[in-house]
Amino acid sequence: MAVLVFAEHDGKVLSEAVAKTVTAATQMGGPVHVLISGTGAGDVAGEAAAIAGVEKVLTAEDAGYDHALAEPLGDLIVGLAGDYDHIVLAASTTGKNVGPRVAALLDVMIVADIIGVESADTFVRPIYAGNAIQTVKSSDAKKVVTVRTTAFEAAGEQAAVGIESHGATAAGGLSEWLDDRFAQSERPELTSARIVVSGGRALGSADNFKLVEQLADKLGAAIGASRAAVDAGYAPNDWQVGQTGKIVAPDLYIAVGISGAIQHLAGMTGSKVIVAIDKDEEAPIFKVADYGLVADLFEAVPALIEALDD
């Protein structure tokens, strides 16, 4: 039977995670249908229709699905679930919010944060902050799966397939959206950026954290942070990289003044090349770094910015 992929978007563009989620979905079976909900669903549906492997796009344009509130969205997906063997979401904060709700309503276990598909019912997922990799087989009739998108390549393009509008309307009442506090940024999105520069507690203040931003801007990179830096208010919560923050796997990850606690490593050891700048040569970050620089960051980072110019 078919696979349903839930697609996130901001009303204007489809999330970059969708094409990667479709890749994982294709490996579970097929055909793949994509569900897009909320205001603007129709406008971005064309983008989804052109992702290779997609057979059909469903749109549910009702404004009650805006902001991806879990309660109405859960009902929408459960309403469609009869036609599908697999329901697949990105392991984003939206997917993590909605996926388990859908699973419980269908009386099935959630298969969370997979990094591999072995077969239609067997999946690979990291546990214990990535210190162990578990292969699990689901005995449930339907599988609800969230996908760690950094582990899958984006699907290519195809001639657009058909788009169908699904007339569902959201039942409100349980929860209500009040506000989003999203910083606008010209920088690439953290989880899909090619280069990430992250700063840790060593930066010492929000003002000093600008040094990390300067290096990031020099490289056209996204910015990340350790939990310690976020807790201390040097960086916003959505920059946290790690087991309980965002998982990144860029071509280049530069850790500045981050010791390399396992919870941090869980979020970035999938990177191709890792650079660590830390003044303590014993810092565990050096154990995973391809290039380590033992130095005071307040001297090393400005010098690196300059050296990159030459």
Partner: protein, 253 residues
């Protein structure tokens, strides 16, 4: 209003977890166990709500082995009023799946007529991040996940959520399930007098079958493996050398 706080006993976050050579799981022998850190945050938040007069009773619940009593005593020492242990297995290595945990919690919530549940957002052992959402679904309640700030008002709660784009503020109708993120609060340490007092607080022991819930897992573990190791890197001598390596050797710039 009663608040139910599910607390899970997990391998301490400071322990470097090792995969067993036979690939059936991870090593539990002689490993330090603690309360899941997100659940400490949940207990703290519930106790603060009680201290602020917004709740009457805080009930900590744990599903697992008999030893989870220790975790419940910690919750009681932090200020929970009573605890319920649901013994669902006698093997520390058998983890009860979130779906089954959610079904058991639903039974407790209904029996206690609770008005709010505060869970951790994820248990740091299995990293599923699902129990709270599943419980909300089974109860037909609203959910406020990954809470960074929680304001409980008349019949509703305002939740500031940590989401991928930044912060999202929602108002959820009570009763509701809230899950905690790291920055919701800084949990207190239990003081010695409170640890002593906690020994006298009520702790009920039940079994999964008392609730008629089938905890048979839906997922079976095929294997547990070591993650691929990264090869050792090099220490460079200067920022200039680093820039040179990145440009000319690493092939990433």
């Amino acid at each position: 209003m009663k608040i139910v706080v599910p607390v899970k006993r997990v391998i301490d976050f400071n322990v470097r977890v090792r995969v067993k050579p036979d690939q059936t799981g991870v090593e539990f022998a002689n490993v330090k166990m603690s309360m899941n850190p997100f659940d400490e945050i949940a207990v703290e938040e519930a106790v603060r709500l009680k201290e602020a007069g917004k709740a009457d009773e805080v009930i900590a619940v744990s599903v697992g082995v008999k030893k989870a009593e220790d975790t419940l005593r910690t919750a009681l020492a932090m200020g929970a009023d009573k605890a319920i242990l649901i013994e669902a297995t006698d093997d520390v290595e058998t983890d009860i799946e979130p779906l089954a945990v959610a079904k058991l919690l639903k039974a407790v919530v209904e029996a206690e007529d609770a008005g709010l549940v505060i869970c951790g957002k994820q248990a740091i052992d299995n990293d599923v991040n699902g129990t709270g959402q599943m419980l909300a679904a089974l109860l037909g309640w609203s959910q406020g996940t990954f809470a960074n700030t929680l304001k409980v008002e008349d019949g509703k709660a305002e939740v500031t959520r940590e989401v991928d784009g930044g912060l999202q503020i929602v108002s959820v109708k009570l009763p509701a399930v809230i899950t905690t993120d790291l920055r919701l609060n800084e949990p207190r340490y239990a003081s010695l007098p409170n640890i002593m007092k906690a020994k006298k607080k009520p702790l009920e022991v039940k079994s999964a079958s008392d609730f008629g819930v089938d905890v048979t897992p839906r997922l079976s573990v095929v294997s547990v493996n070591e993650p691929p190791a990264r090869k050792a890197g090099v220490i460079v001598g200067s920022p200039a050398e680093l820039a040179d390596k990145l440009k000319n050797e690493a092939g990433v710039l």
